[in-house]
Subunit: 158 residues, 2 copies
DNA sequence: ACTATTTCGTCAACCACGTTGACTATCTTA
DNA sequence: TAAGATAGTCAACGTGGTTGACGAAATAGT
């Protein structure tokens, strides 16, 4: 695995994709920690993004992330505990508890986007703009069916 | 996120890499389940590969995977329970318990390699051989530092 | 208007995977 | 031979996931 067998080329591709993803995510969170967001974990960015500016409920968040409402609720609990999300009562429906991004959450989200832009720029510097856009196009072609499925830990156990 | 903001191009790249990885891993395990290995989870392939044909110990496995010896030991427990690994005493060192891939484990590993080859061939059919090798080359360039770090759940929590 | 159903959130129990700390047994070294 | 390093395990805990059950509140049907 470490040195892929040339007779077994297929094995390198998933490893390379994972390594590329990890590189970006690790760099993102190292920089986020430097910029005042050390508690932000890789999953949190996806969750904040899925909550969105309009807010949601735990049940709908679960649907967006492809996980159960209970799992979504627990994840919201953790984000609330570190100050990135807040829960407010829905005045029009006493069953619902609206989940909203706090100012701190919005700051983390904005910085994440900026850092990702800078990281992509590094890839462009190294590989050239054509190769990066080609990679994005090709991955989009191959992975379009999985675009929305973000139940990331789900495919690694559980 | 679902429709990446063109003004924030950086955000699409990690999502695409993740989606590509997931696509391959999901397809792999769907096919493995069809071929008689439904218990094999995404992590298991990495572990089997890291054990290798010569076997290892839990401690060394942990070092190879970038996780603690305790975590490696627990993962070995699970793989032993489903028949993919076995533990044998080391005749030269009573402290050590050699971890070896069983015949069933070797079968899963062999099938995984074959399936990955077929999946890569699908990518070649869709994208053309040049684009696939370009993607592999470029990812290898960008991600070379992370090649060995497979403590996958580690970057998602814990 | 009243019942029946659906929906939302939560609790509880459980599983997979990771962590650190402590401990025993064994091997190695001074 | 005593001292130190190493292998494996146990325990407690954290994160992230699952299913099942349940009460409270909204909605639908008669």
């Amino acid at each position: 695995m470490a040195t892929p067998d040339p007779a077994r080329p297929g094995f390198a591709l998933p490893l390379l994709l994972l390594a590329g993803f990890r590189t970006l995510i690790d760099d993102l969170h190292a920089e986020l920690a430097r910029e005042g967001h050390p508690e932000l974990r890789p999953l949190h960015g996806f969750v904040l993004q899925a909550v969105g500016v309009d807010g949601t409920t735990a049940t709908e968040l679960g649907q967006r992330l492809g996980i159960s409402k209970q799992a979504a609720g627990k994840t919201v609990d953790r984000l609330v505990a570190v100050g990135y999300l807040e829960r407010v009562d829905d005045p029009t429906d006493a069953r619902r508890r609206l989940v909203r991004v706090t100012a701190r959450g919005a700051d983390g989200l904005r910085r994440s986007a900026e850092i990702f832009d800078r990281l992509r720029a590094q890839w462009v510097d190294t590989l050239g703009p054509e190769r990066v856009t080609a990679m994005e196009d090709d991955l989009g072609t191959m992975a379009s069916a999985n675009w929305f499925r973000l139940d990331v830990p789900g495919w690694f156990g559980g």
